[in-house]
């Protein structure tokens, strides 16, 4: 039973929102390649959603383009999620490895990413009065992904429902902690950089004098 190819597994996991990930775990399936591809598509979806949207909905400031914010909004955020979830669930007796968390979470993102592409295309065919259709697509895609994320975390760590909720909450907290540490680290690096550059300038001046 359940002799599916990797692509069929993806379809199975996304369409069977409660059982899909359990089945996947049971069969020890899930492909890193597909997960990376999804993450890549997520990155492009974010850019397309921002830059290629129909002009009737909003006029984007297209004089400059900076790729860093999109990179942070998608790939960095997703990596932070993976690391955060892994570090929290290792303490909370979770069974998932970092690799599995990465794959399962990426699979769970599929509806959200599709929603972004669908809306970007729809925005070129609809007018403002019909925005409600796009809103419906957005809400459905987002809710679907939310449920999938929940079910992914639940099955990858073999948690109960209550424990999953607390794990999700703690993951978000850990992401914030990571952010705070990052800011602290940056500030420290800056201080060191200033210190070194001042010493260097001092030496240069003294040599010249």
């Amino acid at each position: 039973m359940m002799d599916l190819t990797q692509r069929q597994w993806l379809k199975h996991a996304v369409t069977h929102i409660f059982e899909g990930f359990e089945d996947m775990r049971w069969k020890k399936s899930g492909s890193m390649k597909i997960a990376l591809f999804i993450l890549f598509m997520f990155f492009f979806a974010e850019i397309a959603h921002e830059r290629l949207y129909g002009f009737q909905f909003y006029a984007v400031y297209d004089r400059t383009f900076n790729i860093i914010p999109y990179f942070i909004k998608t790939i960095v955020l997703f990596m932070a999620w993976t690391v955060g979830n892994w570090s929290v669930c290792t303490i909370l007796d979770g069974e998932g490895t970092m690799k599995n968390i990465f794959i399962y979470s990426a699979y769970a993102l599929v509806p959200y990413i599709s929603q972004m592409y669908i809306n970007t295309i729809l925005s070129h065919f609809l007018v403002r009065d019909e925005y409600i259709f796009m809103q419906a697509v957005e809400i459905i895609g987002t809710l679907w992904t939310a449920i999938l994320i929940f079910s992914a975390v639940k099955s990858v760590h073999q948690y109960t429902i209550l424990k999953t909720f607390s794990a999700l909450f703690l993951t978000v907290v850990s992401m914030f902690i990571m952010l705070a540490l990052l800011v602290l680290f940056m500030a420290l690096i800056q201080q060191i950089y200033i210190f070194i550059s001042t010493v260097y300038m001092e030496i240069v001046y003294r040599i010249r004098a």
Binding site: F55, Q56, V127
Partner: protein
């Protein structure tokens, strides 16, 4: 030989072109580069809508030189300058060539003479001159023969705080003869008087903008004793600093630079601001950094004038710009700067317009600068007038002309797009709406374009959709058969 002669001719021709170009360059006498805002709100160089024509000082017109003049008014026939330092009102003919009368002393009804003391405002309507006689704390209403008709002094009214001084700075009168006056240090609006000079209350006060500081102070006040409250700065609205009247509407402006609310208002007779829900920043979008003086200039609009065609000229005191808006508050032109040359100001104090000219009074240079419309400005004004009165299609050719001369002029793209939308050329309307950055207009044009497209191609679309459905159904059936077999 023939070839050589040709070369010589070409050389002469080139030199002539060069020389004529140099001449053209030297014609551009303004000490600034005229600019406008593009669709993203960034400043870009643009064609000048006005150029400086000349400057007029007191000596040029045959009166003694002005001393810190602070107000200028044109009644359709003559100019009136409130020459504050010389305690007089100077009236000049409409071409600003000769002085026609100097008013400095007036006959009271009992026969005694009275003089002015630092008058800062003047207004004329129906041969009656209204003078804000500031340091005498009164508004004088006189006729052209220098006879005082009436005099308004500090109102003895419970609405008017008795501890406050009465220093009228600007004065206007409406058609019914009601008199409005801007009074220094009064933040509750301008004082309104009946034609007989009776105080009727305040009119058109500004709102307090809910900045962070104001909100914080409000919450802090809850926990404070009354004694402590007294010592704190109070939140009061900004006072009105200049105004103008056009028809039934009074336009006011406030000099304060740190608020954006109520910088420019258009008040209807009941005192309601018509521009209140307009999302416009009057003045520069971003404060300007002055590299020669190392300071930042926020726009402080100190005087306002409405031209005959309804355009709003706002004089910015801190940057020396005159921002001209049309009656719907769309920015048309930015004129002037702070400079010593003609076309620049040192301390601009009042702005007035007549026909195609804008007049700016400078109270440190003690002169009047006359700006006149360029042919580009004329085209824009004509197009805007047609556009605002509803003749969108008639304005189309003018908009094309404007765009041919200045491709950065955003307003023209809007106008073109709207005209094309009215004409039914939806595709080009979409194109121009996109260039104007107006997504709402684009939405309208796109809706029409789409419905036309669907109507024309409904047959093809229907066929394509049915064909698609048939093909998929057939494929599914074939798949099922394969599985069974």
């Amino acid at each position: 030989m023939k070839l050589k002669l040709k070369n010589v001719f070409i050389l002469i021709f080139c030199i002539l072109i060069l020389l004529s170009n140099i001449n053209l360059l030297s014609l551009n006498a303004e000490p600034y580069i005229s600019y406008n805002y593009d669709r993203w709100g960034d400043a870009v160089p643009s064609q000048a809508g006005y150029i400086v024509k000349r400057t007029v000082s007191g000596n040029d017109i045959g009166a003694d030189s002005f001393d810190e003049p602070s107000d200028i008014f044109f009644d359709g026939d003559k100019f009136y300058v409130a020459d504050t330092g010389n305690n007089r009102i100077v009236s000049i003919d409409s071409s600003l060539e000769n002085v026609s009368e100097v008013y400095d002393s007036f006959k009271m009804s009992d026969g005694s003479l009275t003089t002015l003391e630092k008058p800062e405002g003047v207004f004329v309507s129906d041969d009656i001159i209204y003078i804000a006689d500031t340091q005498n704390s009164r508004i004088l209403i006189v006729n052209r023969d220098s006879e005082v008709i009436s005099e308004i002094t500090k109102p003895d009214d419970e609405i008017y705080d008795n501890n406050k001084t009465f220093l009228p700075k600007r004065v206007i009168a409406d058609k019914a003869g009601n008199i409005y006056s801007v009074i220094e240090n009064i933040t509750t609006g301008c004082a309104m008087f009946s034609p007989e000079g009776k105080f009727k209350g305040f009119y058109g006060s500004n709102r307090v903008e809910p900045t962070f500081k104001v909100i914080r102070n409000h919450f802090m006040n809850i926990f404070m004793s009354d004694k402590k409250k007294e010592r704190r700065t109070r939140t009061v609205p900004t006072g009105i600093t200049g105004f103008d009247i056009k028809g039934d509407f009074i336009f006011t402006c406030t000099e304060s630079s740190d608020v954006s609310a109520d910088r420019v208002k258009k008040l209807n007779p009941s005192g309601k601001n018509i521009f209140a829900d307009k999302d416009v920043v009057f003045g520069d979008y971003k404060p300007k950094y002055d590299t020669s003086y190392y300071n930042i200039h926020d726009s402080t609009i100190c005087d306002i004038d409405i031209s005959d065609s309804g355009n709003i000229n706002c004089l910015d005191f801190s940057t020396g710009h005159i921002f001209q808006y049309d009656e719907e508050c769309r920015l048309l032109f930015i004129v002037g700067t702070l400079a010593g040359q003609a076309g620049g100001f040192e301390k601009p104090s009042a702005v007035e317009s007549a026909g195609e000219n804008i007049y700016v009074l400078d109270s440190r240079k003690n002169n009047i600068t006359v700006f006149t419309e360029t042919s580009f400005g004329k085209t824009v004004h004509k197009a805007v007038e047609l556009y605002n009165t509803g003749y969108y299609e008639e304005a189309l050719d003018l908009w094309y002309e404007v765009l041919r001369r200045d491709g950065n002029y955003t307003y023209a793209y809007n106008g073109t797009s709207f005209a094309l939308l009215r004409k039914g050329d939806y595709k080009n309307s979409m194109k121009y709406a996109k260039m104007a950055g107006n997504s709402e207009l684009y939405n309208k044009a796109f809706e029409e374009y789409r419905s036309v497209f669907l109507k024309e191609n409904s047959g093809k679309i229907f066929i394509a959709v049915t064909a698609g459905i048939v093909v998929t159904v057939l494929r599914k059936i074939r798949k099922r058969r394969k599985r069974r077999s």
